[in-house]
């Protein structure tokens, strides 16, 4: 390759890189730059209706129901204000469990339930040994309870 061609290639690559960067930015930061929508917003009906979107929240304790012998399941998600039912058929990530964060991709069905085609598990920023977690569990329960007591009513976003 001649030096001039090398320069052309390099300039082209630079332009391409910048173009990709810019388009990725636009793609990532549209929708108010949110990766997922809060449950309260969805319950209030303020969500996209024409296309699929993501919701994020905590899986409500004791709400997970599985159909025997199939991958069908349903659970409820909360943002500690509102709750929303979710239906899903498929494999779950290892971290999916009650009380933990979850992100679901899909759309609202006519019966007011979110039908997910993809479930992702979110984890928090805390890391601890299982024994430590067990001794902390009591404390965390109290904290969640007080959070729920102090939480605003569903409907007031």
């Amino acid at each position: 390759m001649k030096p001039r061609q090398q320069r052309m290639l390099a300039v082209g690559l630079a332009a391409l890189g910048i173009a990709i960067a810019a388009s990725l930015t636009l793609r990532a930061f549209k929708d108010n730059m949110m990766f997922f929508i809060d449950i309260s917003v969805v319950v209030a009906g303020d969500h996209p209706t024409e296309r699929t979107f993501r919701i994020g929240g905590l899986v409500v304790d004791g709400s997970v129901e599985r159909r025997e012998g199939s991958l069908e399941m349903s659970f409820r998600v909360t943002d500690l204000k509102c709750e929303l039912g979710v239906r899903y058929t498929g494999v779950l990530p290892d971290l999916f469990r009650e009380g933990q964060g979850v992100v679901a991709h899909g759309s609202m069905a006519d019966d007011g339930v979110f039908v997910a085609d993809k479930i992702l598990a979110k984890h928090d920023e805390n890391y601890m040994a299982p024994e430590v977690a067990a001794s902390l569990a009591k404390h965390v329960e109290d904290q969640t309870a007080s959070l729920q007591d102090g939480a605003a009513e569903c409907g007031s976003i």
């Binding site: 690559l13 805390n126 299982p130």
Partner: protein, 250 residues
């Protein structure tokens, strides 16, 4: 103080000083990494939610942190080079770019390997943390492509310094993305309110890894700056004298 910096910034002085400093960074750095990797893999307890998968944090966090640190060296080098016309500063920027790209690549790939079993996905388009880190990689590539496209060193220094400075916005976005917007990525662990959200037995190896990686990064950066300085000064008298001297100056 000013004289100290002026002397440090003189290419022949830096070239010799860096050779002395490199082992003083590399040896403690490698020792800390050896301890951190051993303790992180074998001594630290498993996580109550993630089991052993969280151990990826011991390479993922240092790589992600250095991906931004290297960028700051690049942007700061560019700014100092533009304002003070300091030759060494531009050499620092040019030397930091390939290292930054390497650590950004590592942060992306180790994060992806971590995300597969935990989140349930290798990659999610549209996540602000993931996307801004990918843009960081493209900024490094753009910076290096721009440099190699311009033959005149002084012009290449200026153009790439401008690009590096513009791209600083993205480093800010990477850092705050998990606070500003909703993201699949969890929030800050080490610098969150009320102290690190991590048990001490897990935390100490992580700190050792971060400090160790930073020291090794310093050594790698110093070696690349020496190469850059040698190349830029190849027609100067000091390089000629150094090479003709019995001791040489490799």
């Amino acid at each position: 103080m000013w004289n100290f910096f002026k002397q440090l910034a003189s290419p022949p002085h830096f070239y010799r000083l860096a050779a002395t400093i490199i082992p003083w960074l590399a040896v403690p750095g490698l020792l800390l990494i050896a301890y951190g990797a051993y303790a992180g893999l074998f001594l630290a307890p498993e996580d109550y939610q993630q089991g052993d998968a969280y151990r990826i944090i011991y390479v993922h966090v240092p790589a992600a942190y250095l991906s931004m640190m290297a960028y700051m060296f690049m942007a700061l080098g560019g700014a100092i080079g533009l304002v003070w016309r300091m030759k060494l500063a531009h050499a620092v920027g040019a030397a930091a770019a390939p290292l930054g790209a390497a650590f950004t690549f590592l942060a992306l790939v180790t994060g992806s390997i971590w995300g597969r079993p935990m989140w349930g996905t290798w990659w999610e388009w549209g996540d602000p943390r993931l996307t801004s880190e990918l843009i960081l990689l493209f900024l490094y590539f753009g910076y290096m492509a721009l440099r190699s496209a311009i033959d005149d060193t002084a012009k290449a220094d200026k153009a790439s310094a401008v690009l590096a400075l513009v791209g600083v916005v993205n480093v800010v976005v990477v850092h705050f993305s998990v606070e500003w917007w909703s993201s699949l990525h969890q929030g800050q662990t080490l610098f969150k309110k009320g102290g690190p959200g991590m048990d001490a037995e897990m935390l100490y190896p992580l700190i050792a890894m971060i400090v160790g990686f930073t020291l090794v990064f310093g050594a790698l950066l110093a070696r690349r700056i020496r190469t850059e300085v040698l190349h830029r000064e190849r027609r100067t008298r000091w390089v000629r004298e150094m090479i003709l001297s019995p001791a040489g100056g490799r």
